[in-house]
Amino acid sequence: MAAVESTIEQVKQIDVDKYKYGFETDIESVRAPKGLDEDTIRYISARKSEPEWMLQWRLDAYERWRSMTEPTWARVHYPKIDFEDLYYYSAPKSTEGPKSLDEVDPELLRTYEKLGIPLREQAVLAGVQGAPRVAVDAVFDSVSVVTTFKDELKKAGVIFCSISEAVREYPELVQKYLGSVVPKSDNFYASLNSAVFSDGSFVYIPEGVRCPMELSTYFRINDMQTGQFERTLIVADKGSYVSYLEGCTAPMRDENQLHAAVVELVALDDAEIKYSTVQNWYPGDKDGKGGIYNFVTKRGDCRGDRSKISWTQVETGSAITWKYPSCILRGDDSRGEFYSIAISNGRQQVDSGTKMIHLGKNTSSRIISKGIAAGYSDNTYRGLVSAHRKATNARNFTQCDSLLIGNNCGAHTVPYIEAKTSTAHFEHEATTSKISDDKLFYCMQRGLSEEEAVTLIVNGFVRDVLQQLPMEFMAETQKLIGISLEGSVG
């Protein structure tokens, strides 16, 4: 019964009605002028001392974006966003980039300490003995503050740095892969991101290398009225492996803030990328005031034969989530996986899912999605599984389960299944139910309160996905599930 005890312990620790990461860091920042035009883009590009080709790429994207209209097909409702009323760039004020951790503003370090993100390598090393080490790229508003374990990674040949640095240091790699999975004209938010992306992480794993440690990026929105537009690019060369974690938080504010990120993954022959996200942006208060609009384009390209990309996501935050991590299974025998837990409470709206596009021969994919809706929230799974005419022997298994807690929320499933070849074998299964009274009674009869019982049952419901998460995230996620569902019972 250890699991039960620890769950209860975790639930107890959580402050009632409080988003744990809702504090604000008082730090001076430099911003681009409000609004978006070519000058803003030039400003961002200049701040980052980017080469001319990068600026041109951004301007092209901006041109495309201007001719696009906001997508409205998702099952989410929000007032129209005024893209002129946003700051597109905000960075903690410092004259030069910090040479070492000692030069980083102590206020910033304290922020990450409060968030529980280890930035001091020694601290990490000295901390928990035997615990797996994680290299972190910390992104604060629009810029990457620090990247840890860089030297050690370098020894293995792994490049892990902020994307701004990569543009300067590894232009040939960036030019080759940036926009090759999510083109700059892909969709409204991806184009916007392409035009104004300010930072993010870049990872390159050379041929045959198994990345010696977990890589991780931690995103934090701090400044007011800013949008965060980060871009992540991960390239796994032939026969390599990398596991990557992403976490995010933001202060509690009454206004809605925009987060439009793009993540591109490229897996060449025999490479494997495991991408895990724990998304915990501020979800807004119980009446739906404030919160982050999370409009994200994530796509992985299994470009090489026998390559594999696996997405695992835990979505608990954000006022609105609009996100479909996808896999293009281009290489023969490639494999895509998607494991998701999406929890919505209060007035949150989630429209998330995946796309598995089978193009190569003998490709396979697996989708496990667990949606939990409570309060007045709406939780939609939207997914596409398609097999191209030449994708012989494509295989897919999809399971989407939804759990409803309370009678004011909605759970929806919108899968698209398209088989253009007879050799495709697709199976799709979806169920929706509530926590049965029997299960609740069983737990409560053994002394658990109703809320604890719900948390326990939900943890069981999402176990399939939880098991896919790296160790470091598992505990945090279990705790998160507790927070997210608080107040949803009774």
């Binding site: 009678n407 929806h412 499933t413 299944i417 007879s422 697709f426 799709h428 169920t431 929706t432």
Partner: protein
Amino acid sequence: MTVAVMKTKAEQSFAEGFSEVQEKLPGSTAVRAIREEAAQRFAELGLPHRRIEEWKYTDLRNQVKDALPPRSGEKVAMTIADVIVALGPLAHVDAHRVVFVNGSHRPELSSPGGLAGVNIQSLASALETAEGGNAAIAGIASQHSDAVMALNTAYMSDGAVVQVEAGAALDKPLMLVHIRAGKAPCFAAVRNVIEVGAKASARIVEAFVSLPGAAGDGQINTVTQVNVGEEAVVTHVKVAADAGEGVTHLSNWMSRIAKSAEYRGFQLTQGVNLARNQIRIDFDGEDAKLDLSGVFLGRGSDHIDTTLVVDHAVPSCESRELFKGVLDGNARGIFQGKIIVQQAAQKTDGKQMSQALLLSENAEFDSKPELEIFADDVVCGHGATCAELDKDLMFYCQSRGIPAEIAKVLLIESFIGEAVDQIDDEAIGEAVMAFARGWLS
């Protein structure tokens, strides 16, 4: 960015054709006004295209090239023997027949009247009276009016208006037979309005068939509106099996199920080049039961689309859907099924399954099973699969001396049999299976 959309040839012909035939179509002044309004609505909407989410996989703007002329007035000479030939296996079902040819009622081909507890009228004559017109137009069909429905409202020439009295039990099935005949290809818009009173029971078959030697092309737009009264039990089967090679079949079923009633629906679609079967079910009272199933068989360039919406608005109802498709050649099958459970509909039990068998490399199956759920105390689920014939099963049959061709037919028969078995009338079920067998061989 808004772009003025050019009207396609078909859209123009449908719009212009209406003003030509308007005068000849049956109906009182009130009905005429409604027809005009519908024609106007169609002119505004145009044919549905793939930018409309519900029509994502079936682009009528692209696939319906031209409008065929409506010929409700012209009479094709036919005998009862012809009707039996056209009906094929369905002729063996002992039923009370009401026959329509090219969208016009043919009393001389129908069974003579006198079915106890039932009042049957032709739509054309019902539309002449205010009461009949109301029943045909003001029902649920008008609430979900898309372009295809509007086209039907504008052009509908005939159909059956059936009223089963409360408590009546029909001793044999009522068969509404729509035959396509004659050398000239034509467009027929028909509407059947079926009202089953409380505690009554009825079996209704709608057949859309063609007479051998009929034109290869044809367009059918059909609407069937069914009201199932409290505690009534209705079996409703539609067979669309045409011999033509260029037939478009656009159909709408609109059924409303009252408290504690039971509604069993089944649709067979085969030999139709372009089919769109839309089904909308509304639960109107608690403890009602729905059992909906269907089989679609496509080959060549057939395109068969089944789109259904089951709306649970009230508590404690049960719905089951099972659809099976077999696709060969370049055929494309589509299944879109949406189960809506509204906030009030607690204790809903909904299950949906769609399965397709792809027999050739170029066959395609697209499915979109949707759940839209706003109530928490529900058990809902859906499943969708698609695959080729199981090689192990084929091997098993062949290893027991069954030739490959026969083994294939056997396996397909058992595959679709599961759906056909849902029909709770043996004779009708056998006829449906015979149709499918005919298609298979």
